[in-house]
Amino acid sequence: MSELHDVPSAHDLVEAVREWLERDVLAGTSGRLQFHARVAINVLAMVERELELGAEQARDHEIRLADLGVDSDAELSDAIRSGRLDDRLDEVIEAVRADVLAKLLVANPNYISRDVT
């Protein structure tokens, strides 16, 4: 695969800004400003994870939807609401659970407890 853009990649650029926030900004701030710097660090780390995992997660998500015969979360939501997929409810629950775990792997992987999958 050949890239149009020069290095660093989007992932590496975001990572560089996050490292600067961690190294210099946290040390030079306190109170509310430091709290907001921590929030910014968490947001950038999330973007890094999405740049890393997002494409593969999107493919897996589409496969799960297709297996249930729907092509979007909106359509799946309508099917759950109307009862149209009630005869496949176990499959629906497992597909939705897999989506939630995928979202957490980007948003906050530490939130996933070890005793539950």
């Binding site: 979360d73 009862g83 906050n108």
Partner: protein, 324 residues
């Protein structure tokens, strides 16, 4: 600030006000601490331009105090509708209560070790006491079907944010299929959890923040207290401190009313869903430009934590959707 001091002195009938200090500024109200003739008091005031009245909350506080519930005593209150109100916004002045409200300190600091031993009992007894307050003299207490209310809120948010949440749809199906047939209707606090409780080394001292008080099934307060967000990272289900069985047993003993674990779970599931929808509301405040902030923006990506919590609460209980 001098103007505020003068207004406060008039409101509480004091010769002078000192030590006026701003404590916090929430989205809709501000909190100040002050002394009036040596008496330590707290002011809660709606932000200017906010038309919400504090009249119902003041009436609830007074009724709870009169019934012996641990709440700060109401010293004065006023409405923004009253042209003679010196504070020109709805307000309440409350007796100051010493203690700590910050959940992480209460859950982890060594000095609250003894308090943690008695807190589940204290919370259960306090809930039993507030559920015994007669709500009928309080005008305007809301009493609404929250499933319908949050269904409408989610539909609105989904269409405005262009999103869908299949987990929430599964939760709504489960809630509709398992709705408890409770007949008991009482005063409900509506936001009973660490953060809204004043606690000292000896245990629970006062229940604060009665903004969401309403009439409904008292089990709502027990379920909300067990919502995973209010465990603040702890593994103990009840407020991050105790176990379901001890909360239920203490509540039974204090109230004389039997408690069904399944009904508490139903309210915990609804509470988890509500908190997820509230997170969507916060992120929409950023997205619509009402309040641009990366903090609010990030909250949108925490909705999946609530979805995960719903799976934790519902696993093993999925039956009875779709007539299974």
């Amino acid at each position: 600030m001098d103007e505020l001091s003068e207004a406060l002195a008039r409101v509480v009938g004091a010769t002078g006000v000192s030590e006026l200090t701003r404590l916090s500024g929430g989205a809709s109200r501000e909190t100040w601490r002050f002394e009036a003739d040596g008496r330590r008091l707290v002011l809660q005031r709606q932000r200017s331009g906010d038309v919400r009245d504090m009249g119902i909350e003041a009436a609830v506080l007074r009724a709870a105090f009169d019934a012996g519930v641990r709440v700060p005593e109401l010293v004065a209150s006023g409405s923004h509708n009253d042209p003679d109100n010196p504070l020109r916004a709805s307000f309440m002045v409350l007796e100051h209560v010493d203690g700590e409200t910050i959940a992480r300190k209460l859950l982890r600091d060594e000095r609250f070790g003894a308090a943690r031993e008695v807190l589940v009992r204290d919370m259960a007894r306090t809930l039993a006491a507030l559920h015994a307050v007669d709500p009928s003299p309080i005008d305007g207490l809301p009493s609404i079907d929250q499933v319908a209310q949050y269904r409408a809120t989610l539909d609105d948010l989904n269409s405005r944010l262009g999103q869908a949440h299949p987990t929430f749809e599964l939760a709504f199906r489960w809630l509709e299929a398992n709705r408890p047939s409770s007949t008991r209707r009482t005063l409900v606090h509506g936001d009973f959890r660490l953060g809204n409780l004043m606690v000292d080394e000896g245990g629970l001292r006062a229940v604060l923040d009665w903004e969401l008080a309403h009439v409904g099934d008292p089990m709502e307060d027990l379920g909300w207290l067990c919502v995973r967000a209010w465990r603040f990272g702890s593994s103990h289900p009840v407020a991050g401190i105790g176990e379901y069985d001890s909360l239920l047993a203490e509540y039974r003993e204090a109230s004389g009313v039997d408690v069904d674990r399944d009904v508490v779970r139903w309210w915990e599931v609804l509470g988890t869903l509500k908190w997820g929808i509230m997170c969507m509301l916060q992120t929409s405040a950023h997205l619509t430009g009402m309040s641009r902030s990366h903090e609010l923006a990030a909250i949108g990506r925490r909705v999946c934590e609530n979805e995960y919590d719903l799976f934790l609460a519902l696993d093993g209980h999925w039956n009875s959707i779709g007539g299974r």
